[in-house]
């Protein structure tokens, strides 16, 4: 095993703060090795699935990296807690907050569509948003990140950007408009029903392995590790990547169908 260029957690945190990729890799590996289990146990005991653990771990990792870079998170040197425990406590709080939001979404009064198609369509359209987001101007990216990911209010964003709340609201409206430009049809309920039909058709257009993967994951609720074993992928990471590719295929098929209608 090669010797690490970092000898302690303080050095890693300082490296992350400076934006060093190697430090981020160390931190990711450290959190995965020593704190993933706690996160996993918490989520699985609170109604989460294996994929939720993976997603929330990664989302919390992003929050942690941002917090270190912005110096919102600092290690206390005079403490009975180890640095690892301090990181773990912050990480757990982040995951708990993210999970609370997710549960509020899941426990909302249900929209009248089949849960399966709703899950698939959210992934499809979120994929479209993901691509559109990359095309946005950096100002739009920054403001939408603060609004949707950090969950800040328009007033707070205004304070941070030194502008009025109304200006922030206008900017968000303009940026969301661009972000959702390809999904405008979703607000039409009659069309929404069609969307679910189109998702079904899009699934039929996929190759059998992708169909199997998507149905196993969404319909049968299987974990990616199990899917990887069943479909012959080398690891759950490969299965995750494959699922991404399949959702992209589905995404294209659905958009093509919708453009025809």
């Amino acid at each position: 095993m090669s010797r690490s260029s970092f000898t302690n957690i303080l050095e890693i945190i300082e490296g992350v703060r400076k934006g060093e990729m190697e430090a981020k890799q160390h931190l990711y590996l450290f959190m995965e090795k020593y704190h993933f289990q706690n996160i996993s146990a918490h989520l699985l005991n609170n109604g989460g699935h294996a994929q939720d653990v993976e997603d929330k771990f990664q989302d919390a990792m992003i929050v942690l990296l941002q917090a270190i870079e912005a110096e919102r998170f600092r290690l206390k040197q005079v403490s009975l807690k180890s640095y690892s425990d301090q990181l773990g406590a912050y990480f757990m709080r982040t995951v708990q907050n993210l999970w609370k939001k997710e549960l509020r979404w899941r426990r909302r009064p249900s929209i009248e569509v089949e849960a399966f198609y709703e899950d698939v369509s959210i992934d499809i359209f979120a994929g479209i948003v993901e691509e559109e987001f990359g095309q946005l101007h950096s100002d739009c990216q920054a403001i939408l990140n603060k609004y949707f990911i950090d969950g800040l209010s328009t007033r707070r964003i205004g304070k941070e950007l030194n502008t009025t709340t109304q200006n922030v609201k206008n900017s968000i409206a303009r940026c969301v408009d661009k972000l959702l430009s390809k999904l405008q049809f979703l607000n039409d309920t009659a069309l929404s029903t069609k969307v679910w039909d189109v998702v079904k058709q899009g699934l039929d257009d996929l190759d059998p392995k992708c169909q199997q993967l998507i149905q196993s994951f969404y319909l049968r609720g299987k974990g990616l590790k199990e899917i990887a074993q069943g479909l012959g992928y080398s690891s759950s990471h490969s299965a995750t990547e494959q699922k991404r590719k399949c959702i992209k295929q589905l995404n294209k098929a659905v958009v093509n169908h919708l453009l025809k209608t």
């Binding site: 302690n8 180890s82 509020r104 948003v129 949707f148 969301v176 959702l180």
Partner: protein, 237 residues
């Protein structure tokens, strides 16, 4: 289609748990029956998921692709050892603080005054505390002059040093060397201690101890303190 941004904002706050119970209840009911609310909730979720997906891709893709094997266990082990050392140091520090605090308490208890003497014309409000035989206490006194109109006024001379020596046995005795007065006294609960010059005579000094008045001649060897012939009743209060 028009997106209602105010509604989108309300729904975002609803899913984040930022709304009060009444507002959340209203949104919850609307979500059950109003397709516009449902569609906006859907748009919120898609936007939020889309952005999360983008951030995961952008920020974590390179991080997760390790080019070399990283020995993370050594770092964990180092953290564990460092924490143990810190706990030892903090523990010892805590014990040290407890010991110091205990000693302070014990000392305060042993020095608990048998009596406390509030002293008039002393420079500060310090109380004279006595403990065992032989203990000393230095006090600076502001000398007074007993003027012709029977008033006590501060004398325009330097302050005098009084050193009180606790002596449980025998009578009050004194020793006066220059501006310093040594007083050997078994009784210490005087209401006041005053150094007084009579009228314009800077050589004749009186010492008031509580309700008694003593002559205080210059005397470089220890001698008995003698009561003054001046009537105490004439001393201004």
């Amino acid at each position: 289609m028009n997106i209602n941004y105010s509604l989108l904002d309300q729904l975002k706050r609803y899913f984040q748990g930022d709304l009060d119970a009444a507002a959340a209840e209203t949104i919850s009911k609307k979500l059950e029956e109003d397709p516009v609310y449902q569609a906006h909730a859907y748009l919120y979720k898609i936007s939020q998921e889309g952005l999360s997906g983008y951030e995961r891709q952008k920020r974590l893709k390179d991080i997760k692709d390790f080019s070399s094997v990283i020995d993370i266990e050594a770092i964990w082990e180092q953290d564990r050892k460092l924490t143990q050392q810190k706990r030892w140091i903090l523990g010892l520090l805590a014990i040290f603080i407890v010991i110091v605090a205990s000693l302070f308490v014990v000392r305060s208890t042993s020095e608990k005054p048998q009596t406390q003497v509030p002293i008039a014309n002393q420079e500060s409000e310090t109380e004279v505390l006595f403990g065992a035989d032989g203990q000393e206490q230095a006090i600076t006194l502001i000398p007074f002059r007993w003027d012709a109109t029977n008033q006590l006024i501060p004398a325009e001379v330097d302050r005098r040093q009084l050193i009180l020596h606790l002596r449980q046995q025998g009578e009050i005795s004194f020793l006066r060397k220059g501006d310093t007065l040594h007083l050997y006294t078994p009784k210490i609960n005087y209401d006041s201690i005053q150094w007084i010059y009579t009228e314009d005579d800077d050589t004749r000094v009186l010492l008031r101890l509580g309700n008694q008045l003593f002559d205080l001649p210059k005397q470089e060897t220890e001698g008995k303190l003698k009561a003054s012939k001046l009537p105490l009743k004439d001393l201004p209060q």
